[in-house]
């Protein structure tokens, strides 16, 4: 049994010298005990005597880089693992390329840990200004790394803060820079570092202001800034309050925006209709003549949603003007509803058809078209904010509710929408036009008018 003693936890040069000697003497990895500093030696160990066989050998450069990094890991086994890897690399050139090898993988993971720790130290060290004797200013930070990275990381701070005088204190090792050279000293305690800096209030002001309360993603934050670092970062003290207030601030913004819409709603609607005229969200815009947007007062309390424009609407550019529209007009008049006071629109805003000779035959819009077009109806609803919305037919119901429902299962019952409005589902007027049986058609028409009356009554009741 041999004992190899290293000067410190990150003593790469010591490890390299010992490993070279041991490897030349062909000492097997399990015959070496690695220790740091003056701890009592292993009972059965002999010092790794310098009676090594003369000679030298070389290893690939990537091995040296990997070993230098992985050696800073906190795992006490790292010296032995690296020595094992060294013996194997000597025997098998190119071993390091075999990332699927369990030992290579384990050491790569250690190196990755160390690199991440180094990166986080570069990110999360917070210097505090300290006035020292003679009017000089020194910047001092307290940091608690997971691994032995202070020495390997010090150059970064020297490059960046070359003209400042600074110190980074950690439990294991401290480093000082006087503008010309790095000096390493034993570990320190948190109380050795200053406990504040007047500028931290300014930094916290920035941190609070740059946070957007309308997009809270705590998981994304803690993934990259784990809580273990928080205690040494002044800004993190604000996080609980920022999160607690976020929901309130966001809903406040939305409410204020709703309340303020006022006189602008008409202009907003016109701009929206203008944009819709150029819509290409689904392929229906190709064969159709034009977008048929909704119409009616933007402060209407009752909204009707149909299926899609038909042949005549497509040409006129207005909703509900064809045969079904005329029937609709008759029915709402019968229900005592003033057509000029309601907002009418369609779930799908382009005419979908199949050509049969010279005729254009209505084709039912599919789920993709309804979903693509829902963006517009959502915008219309945001502006109009009707108290009651009547969906005419299953397509309109699907658009409004976002799921497939049947008329028979939903008719005659109020459904509360996410925006607080009330939805009622009934048939589409074109269904009434298609009924061949005259008696049944009259019955169904009467039932349709009843549905419209109920909707109108709800408008009055919720006023």
């Amino acid at each position: 049994m041999r004992v190899a003693t290293l000067a410190s936890e990150d003593d790469f040069d010591g490890w390299r010298a010992a490993a070279r000697t041991l490897a030349l003497a062909q000492v097997a990895p399990h015959d070496v005990v690695w220790q740091v500093g003056e701890r009592p030696a292993d009972l059965f160990g002999d010092e790794a005597s310098p009676d090594a066989a003369p000679g030298a050998f070389s290893v690939p450069r990537p091995f040296v880089d990997l070993a230098r990094t992985a050696l800073c890991h906190r795992d006490p086994e790292r010296f032995a693992l690296l020595y094992t890897l060294l013996i194997r690399v000597r025997a098998q050139q190119g071993l390091l390329d075999d990332r699927a090898d369990p030992l290579v993988q384990r050491i790569e993971l250690m190196a990755k840990d160390v690199r991440r720790d180094m990166h986080k130290m570069r990110a999360f060290v917070r210097f505090r200004e300290l006035a020292v004797d003679g009017g000089e200013t020194r910047y001092v930070a307290w940091f608690e790394p997971d691994n032995h990275i202070v020495r390997i990381n010090a150059d970064f701070f020297a490059r960046r803060f070359a003209t400042m005088h600074w110190s980074i204190l950690t439990p294991g090792l401290s480093v000082h820079w006087d503008g010309t050279a790095l000096a390493f000293a034993p570990g320190a305690r948190k109380t050795d570092a200053p406990d504040g800096d007047p500028l931290e209030e300014m930094w916290k002001t920035y941190y609070a202001a740059i946070f957007n309360p309308a997009r809270v993603k705590v998981g994304a934050m803690t993934k990259e800034m784990p809580r273990k670092y928080w205690k040494n970062m002044p800004e993190t003290a604000l996080i609980p309050d920022l999160l607690a207030g976020a929901q309130k601030r966001e809903s406040g913004m939305i409410e204020t925006a709703h309340a303020d819409i006022g006189d602008n709603a008409r202009a907003a609607w016109e701009a929206l209709a203008g944009e819709a005229a150029g819509c290409t969200r689904c392929p229906l815009y190709g064969p159709a003549t034009q977008t048929v947007f909704g119409e009616g007062p933007v402060d209407a309390r009752l909204m009707f949603v149909g299926e899609q424009p038909g042949d005549q609407e497509d040409i006129a550019g207005r909703p509900f003007v064809g045969p079904a529209g005329q029937l609709f007009d008759r029915a709402i008049a019968a229900a005592g509803i003033d057509r000029t006071q309601v907002y009418v629109t369609n779930a799908v805003k382009h005419f979908k058809f199949e050509e049969r000779g010279r005729r254009r035959i209505h084709a039912k819009p599919g789920a993709p078209e309804i979903d693509a077009c829902r963006w517009w109806i959502d915008q219309e609803r945001v502006l109009v904010r009707p108290a009651v919305t009547v969906a005419l037919g299953v397509t309109a119901a699907r658009s409004l509710l976002g799921k497939v429902v049947t008329i028979s299962g939903t008719r005659g019952k109020p459904i509360t929408l996410p925006d607080g409005g009330e939805a009622w589902i009934t048939v589409h007027p074109s269904y009434l036009l298609r009924l061949p049986d005259k008696v049944q058609a009259e019955e169904e028409y009467a039932r349709f008018v009843e549905d419209l009356k109920v909707a109108q009554a709800r408008v009055t009741a919720t006023a």
Partner: protein
């Protein structure tokens, strides 16, 4: 109203700047203060995020506006002319001092400076350039500077911006021309395009000059970027992906940022209040990655969208593509070329590199692949190895339910 001190201004002008998603500080030329008499700062390839806000965004730069006063009235913008937000304006010196004192304490990697447009575009641009000039020349600041440039500013001012800044950017704002017309009526898509094209030329000229003369000054070494707001106009994901790819090609952009439209205080009526799910923004970034690092063509990403042109929210676009084009799989990890390995859901660029070097040394078994990747469960249905072949999996109609992560795991970026 009481006079604002620097801290009061900072609160207003950082709040006004937070809707810009970009905070990158990477990809610029290497600089160091080692051996220098004066000045401060360094840049070294990889950017550093010095903190994260609870919105999950990285804070690497001091991101502020010079002023939030603006002569424009863009409806999505908190700083638009008609907004009732309190106005403030930094002096160039205040910004310089803030940047330096934050930098000395290791809070930031540099400055990202933008501004509302005051007086004229040229006047505004002059103010921005002055801050960058002072940092670089008066204080020998070697940290990162990102300047937003104003589309209509004089080319000479834009050139000066590029000489001082690492990165310059101009936002296209909205993916569709119709959206821009509705929400930013005073901005012009043509002028924005023109400004990005000129910037591309200047950056390329800068590169050429450096090839000929080592001493030629660097011009925006971290290139130019842009930002699109997602969910404020009618563009679907297919439109956005196509637009982004056009921007990368035409203007040589380093990055396109996607910013899910966010409600703002004192919103304009024309703004849609319904905001898109944040996951949508995430899916767009993933598809951006597929185009930039995984060899996906824009039309292939578009092919991964659902029938309504939107990327699925419950699975990532690479998995969505794989489920649609199952005939591509299984991919043999021991034989397949790099391009094909990159198509496997769950295999990242690093894992693919590891597979390619490792397979020279051994015939890969499923266990071996497991050591090279994060989650073998996600990868397994799409690969074959010496001891593994997913005979039935890719033929199963319910494959998706087997791979799609459970709901609680899925919300990677949720609270």
């Amino acid at each position: 109203m009481a006079q604002l001190d620097t801290r009061g201004k900072l609160a207003i002008l950082a709040d006004a700047a937070k809707y810009d998603a970009s905070c990158a500080s990477s990809g610029t030329s290497k600089r160091s203060s080692a051996g220098k008499e004066k000045g401060i700062g360094s840049t070294e390839g990889m950017g550093i995020c010095h903190a994260y806000a609870p919105d999950g965004r990285c804070i690497s730069l001091l991101k502020i506006l010079l002023t939030n006063s603006c002569i424009f009235d863009c409806h999505y913008c908190i700083n638009r002319k008609s907004s009732n937000v309190r106005r403030a304006r930094f002096s160039a010196e205040e910004v310089v001092n803030l940047t330096l004192s934050f930098y000395r304490r290791n809070y930031i990697e540099g400055l990202f400076l933008s501004s509302g447009i005051i007086n004229t575009p040229n006047y505004t641009m002059e103010q921005l350039v002055e801050v960058a000039r002072s940092l670089r020349e008066d204080h020998q600041f070697r940290g990162y500077i990102h300047l937003k440039t104003i589309p209509d500013a004089d080319p000479e001012l834009v050139r000066q911006a590029g000489l001082h800044a690492d990165r310059v950017s101009i936002n296209v704002e909205l993916p569709t021309v119709g959206g821009l017309k509705r929400l930013a009526p005073e901005k012009s898509a043509d002028r924005i395009d023109g400004a990005m094209r000129e910037m591309k030329t200047s950056i390329e000229d800068g590169h050429d000059a450096r090839k000929k003369y080592r001493a030629a000054p660097k011009f925006a070494p971290a290139g130019q970027s842009t930002q699109m707001i997602v969910g404020a106009d009618s563009a679907n994901d297919g439109d956005i992906v196509t637009k982004a790819s056009t921007l990368y090609d035409r203007f040589g952009l380093r990055r396109v940022y996607y910013s899910a439209f966010s409600p703002i205080p004192d919103a304009s009526a024309i703004l849609p209040l319904k905001r898109p799910p944040l996951m949508r923004e995430h899916r767009l970034y993933q598809s951006d990655w597929l185009m930039r690092f995984y060899g996906f063509q824009p039309k292939e990403v578009v092919a991964a969208t659902d029938a309504d042109g939107m990327l699925p929210l419950d699975i990532d676009p690479k998995l969505a593509w794989a489920l649609k084009f199952r005939e591509t799989f299984p991919v043999d990890v021991n034989l397949a070329p790099r391009e094909l390995l990159l198509r496997v859901p769950g295999l990242g660029v690093k894992a693919v590199n590891s597979i390619i070097v490792s397979r020279r040394w051994r015939a890969l078994r499923l266990d071996d692949v497991g050591r090279l990747t994060v989650s073998i469960a996600k990868v397994r249905p799409f690969i074959s190895a010496t001891d593994w072949r997913p005979v039935t999996l890719t033929d199963r109609a319910d494959l998706k339910t087997h791979i799609v992560p459970k709901k609680e795991q899925l919300e990677l970026f949720a609270a």
